[in-house]
């Protein structure tokens, strides 16, 4: 074991008694805030009217905190907060760089939209079951996963978000939900256990769990330790979390069963946490191993794309179509991770952020469509365009975005990924990306044609009003997708810097170990 041969560490350097600066607390504030609001919501469990108000205010606060954090990180570089002044690698560090801050901000915005949408989707029994506390704890887990700088801590946040996602998934305990949760629950638990196996080996090899410390030490251990096995385990575990082929079938089996707002939240957040962890571990910690595994990851990515979109073509249920589209999007992100470099990693991050916004929006649309048409199947859904033109227009824009058509947010990451794939000569990967875009257009086109464009058989269906409360989050997400598509420069600049920071993590290391650090 490597830990036994390392020289005795100088512990005096680790314990510093000066308290943390107040500004450093910003790094951990998103997590603490979510837990505090979640606890408050548990106390308010009897006043069902107060719960949604508190939760939405809490989520709006989270968006502001994450926005402030992103602004700080963008100007000052990565920030680190250490609990109890036990300096890394001994203490648990929360380190946030541009990638983590971007993901956290988009996740918080998606959750805020879901919070507003839940006003019309979660009834009193859902509130009594604890939808809002579970939502806040889920956000604590998601934020913690994006902001932590310690790999075992990452595992803990994964578990926090997993247990609250179980609660959200069975909310209502209908037969369909129980069936979906059984598959979701077992497979995700196996995935996190695999993650723990990999972390156990990692500790045995490195003797440290701090990501910055691992990134420093990886170079010297490359010849003596089985790092490929480690990275393979991590890729398998995170690939399973992110629903990559061939370990993706739990997602379409479960994502269409819960309440619409829960599906929308999951679509935006859960697989993206897996992708974030995959990017963090492969790109930042083990770049050489990523290079060696790139063919396998690229193959998995291409198959995920194709299998996902073909699955979507074969479905009739609105939400199951979307479930398969999530899978296909994950394939595009994996392709970016496999290609690497600024174009590949940047494209992967961009695609993930875009997918968070757009897939959540599409699930909102499915909820409104199911309410308008009283059905979830595109065989029976019809005439939605006639019933609500504005809603149909919003859905069409999101359909364009998910297919990667300009001028929406899906276009730019697709361009980046195709270009990056062609640059390294992986023409088959670029072809798979383009073919997936084409097939996705057919999927969404058919969805729109049948559910929205087609005239109803009987014209007696009267117009059902759509409340502004459920249209507003959909419109907001669509507007964001359009804005990113029309004016991608600021986000693109941030993403390029984020990708560069992952490829060359010296700023990250400096933030964790100021002035070279111990040892």
């Amino acid at each position: 074991m490597a830990a036994s041969i390392s020289p005795p560490a100088d512990l005096s350097a680790a314990l510093v008694l000066t308290p943390s600066m107040a500004s450093e607390w910003l790094v951990i504030l998103p997590v603490a805030w979510c837990l505090a609001v979640g606890a408050l919501l548990v106390m308010l469990r009897r006043s069902l009217g107060l719960q949604p108000v508190t939760a939405i205010a809490g989520l709006a606060g989270l968006v502001m905190i994450d926005g402030l954090l992103l602004e700080r990180v963008a100007t000052n570089g990565p920030m680190t907060m250490v609990m109890g002044r036990w300096l890394p690698p001994f203490g648990i560090a929360f380190t946030v760089d541009l990638t983590g801050a971007l993901f956290a901000l988009v996740a918080a915005s998606v959750a805020l939209a879901a919070g507003v949408f839940s006003l019309t989707d979660i009834n009193d029994s859902g509130r009594r079951y604890g939808f809002y506390p579970l939502l806040m704890v889920l956000m604590a887990g998601v934020s913690g996963a994006f902001l932590t700088g310690d790999i075992f801590n990452l595992y803990v946040w994964f578990e926090v978000l997993l247990i609250s996602s179980f609660g959200l998934l069975v909310l209502g305990s209908e037969r369909e939900q129980l069936d979906g949760t059984v598959k979701y629950g077992f497979l995700n638990l196996v995935a996190t256990t695999l993650f723990l196996v990999a972390t156990g080996y990692l500790y045995a090899v490195f003797g440290t769990l701090n990501m910055a410390d691992i990134a420093r030490k990886a170079e010297s251990l490359r010849d003596s330790a089985p790092l490929m096995t480690l990275v393979g385990l991590y890729v398998l575990a995170f690939g399973m979390k992110a629903a990559a082929f061939p370990v993706n079938f739990w997602l379409p089996a479960s994502y269409h069963t819960p309440r619409v707002v829960v599906s929308a939240l999951f679509a935006g957040l859960l697989t993206k946490v897996g992708i974030y962890a995959l990017i963090r571990v492969t790109v930042m910690l083990f770049p050489v191993e990523r290079e060696e595994m790139s063919f396998v990851v690229a193959l998995a990515g291409a198959l995920t794309m194709i299998v996902g979109v073909l699955g979507a073509l074969a479905q009739t249920d609105f939400r199951r179509i979307l479930g398969y589209l999530i899978v296909s999007g994950i394939g595009s992100i994996l392709a970016g991770v496999a290609v690497g470099g600024p174009g590949g990693v940047g494209g992967a991050i961009f695609y993930a952020l875009h997918s968070m916004l757009v897939m959540t929006g599409l699930y909102f649309a499915s909820g409104i469509a199911m309410r308008l048409g009283a059905s979830a199947s595109i065989i029976t859904l019809a005439g939605l365009y006639r019933r609500h033109v504005g809603f149909a227009a919003l859905t069409l824009m999101l359909c364009f975005a998910v297919s990667g058509l300009p001028p929406f947010s899906g276009f730019w990451p697709k361009v980046m990924l195709v270009k990056a794939a062609l640059d390294i000569g992986a023409w088959w990967l670029a072809a798979a990306l383009l073919l997936t875009g084409f097939l996705t257009t057919i999927v969404t086109g058919r969805l729109f044609l049948f559910a929205y464009w087609r005239d109803e058989a009987d014209q007696s269906g009267e117009a059902v009003p759509v409340s502004a409360v459920s249209l507003a989050p959909l419109a907001a997400l669509t507007l964001l997708a359009l804005l990113i598509g029309l004016y991608p420069d600021p986000l693109l600049g941030a993403i390029q810097r984020a990708a560069a920071g992952l490829a060359e993590p010296s700023a990250y290391l400096n933030s964790v170990f100021p002035a070279g650090g111990s040892q």
């Binding site: 830990a3 069936d179 256990t193 595109i378």
Partner: protein, 125 residues
Amino acid sequence: MEAWFSLLVSIFFTVAVYLLLSKFIIRVLLGVAILGNAVNLLIFTGGRLTRAVPPVIAGDADVLAGPAANALPQALILTAIVISFSFFAFLLVLAWRAYDELATDNTDEMRVAEPVNEPAPPLGY
């Protein structure tokens, strides 16, 4: 010592994977429980196994006197035990509820969320 433990862990993993591949939920549950223990033993082995000295630093010293087991993996296992125990409890209740509601614990027959005879998507209108 480590070699024997590695062997034990590998047996645990084999049994766990075998049970996880079953289609009956009750066996999968047993597999999950064994898998959790396999991982805990794995981390435990990763932190050195020795009976020599407890990892306690004397009052006038900065570092340990002799070779000792690393205490950190034990802290990690403690966290992992709590988490896997709570998850196991959740899954146990979920499996019971699913058995109650769906009247089967055979995953081949649990097709409520993904019906077998779904109509094909329309080809034209």
